[in-house]
């Protein structure tokens, strides 16, 4: 349960953006969350709701885009997506794979006012 600590990092970025862009409040925060990012989306949502009180994002919505794991087989080059582990190439049944997507936890965009 390190979601609160990640939300604290998110708010550091939001503060920096506020100074840079000069907006008054945040309406929406869009995050992309990979299935392998190590966070539970529901916990991230809860942590956001707790943290946002009395901040520039007190009325903001958190929009979470959950992305599956996308990987490439190092032997045959096949690219596929997975919901679960282990990551095994469906073509050659090997587990020597390179993860292309699904580990990210990225602040994509903000909708702001003022």
């Amino acid at each position: 349960m390190h979601e609160l600590s990640l939300i604290a990092s998110l708010f550091e970025i939001l503060e920096t953006q506020k100074e840079k862009e000069g907006f008054k409040k945040i309406i929406a925060v869009q995050l992309r969350c990979g299935l392998l990012s190590g966070v539970v989306p529901e916990c991230l949502q809860t942590a956001f709701e707790i943290y946002k009180k009395d901040t520039l994002a007190s009325e903001a919505r958190l929009i979470l885009e959950v992305v599956p794991v996308k990987f490439k087989c190092r032997f045959c080059g096949q690219i596929e997506t997975a919901q679960d582990f282990p990551l095994i190439c469906s073509q050659c049944q090997r587990s020597e794979v390179e993860i292309l997507e699904g580990t990210e936890l990225t602040l994509i965009s903000l909708e702001v006012e003022g």
Binding site: H2, L6, P86, S95, L107, I108, E113
Partner: protein, 223 residues
């Protein structure tokens, strides 16, 4: 009031990653090779470090950072071996972060060859935080059972080395060692795997040799 959308594209862990990279460069300049140990509570991280100290120290100077939610009992165990140890009590946080490591780094005196960082006992959150380490260990003790690699894939995926601990208990419990190795390698085919016992000392010498070899390789690279 005008509304607008601002594109950011910033990793939430970017500040941790940056500090971790600074730590990596700092330790490289001092030839200190660092190992981040992750496991469930009670897998034997401190006991493994104690055994590695017995094997390597004082020929190879060691420093230890102990991460715990409360108490500095683990650091006291390490200090009893004559090795400098620092305790980071996270006060509830379930993992160590790079900034916590950065705070004690300057206190580590030279020459130190190995820095062991014992993470908070947890197989989930520590996996997401780079501490600037050179090697990541994941420990799995025999009483924990065989299903850990599939239940906690990220810890096994990001580790370089799996240390199966309390191997002396294998005859008492139904634990299929070969099955665990196979499943761990399905998650991460590059895992080095060792089986150790802090009670009998089994496998500790091999693990120490592996560490010496890894450090030697690292000293020869500029990365």
């Amino acid at each position: 009031m005008s509304r607008k959308e601002i594109t950011i594209l910033e990793d939430l862990l970017s500040s941790n990653k940056k500090i971790a990279q600074d730590i990596r460069l700092y330790l490289k300049a001092k030839n200190i090779f660092s190992i981040n140990l992750m496991s469930s509570p009670g897998s034997g991280k401190t006991s493994l470090i104690e055994k590695l100290i017995e094997e390597l120290f004082p020929k190879h100077p060691i420093a230890v950072i102990e991460g715990d939610i409360e108490t500095d009992l683990d650091a006291a165990r390490i200090k009893a071996k004559g090795v400098p140890a620092w305790s980071i009590t996270t006060g509830g946080a379930c993992h160590l972060e790079a900034r916590m490591i950065a705070q004690v780094l300057k206190e580590i005196s030279e020459p130190t060859e190995f820095l062991f960082i014992e993470n908070v006992g947890n197989l989930v959150c520590p996996a997401s935080y780079d501490l600037g380490e050179n090697l990541r260990f994941v420990l799995l003790s025999i009483p924990e059972g065989e299903d850990k690699p599939l239940k906690y894939p990220k810890a096994f995926l990001t580790a370089h080395c799996l240390v199966i601990t309390k191997i002396d208990l294998i005859g008492l419990l139904s634990f299929d060692l070969e099955k665990v190795k196979e499943e761990a390698r399905k998650i991460n085919p590059h895992l080095a795997i060792f089986a150790t016992s802090a009670r009998t000392g089994q496998g500790v010498k091999e693990l120490a040799t592996y560490l010496l070899y890894q450090r030697k390789q690292w000293l020869e690279t500029n990365a």
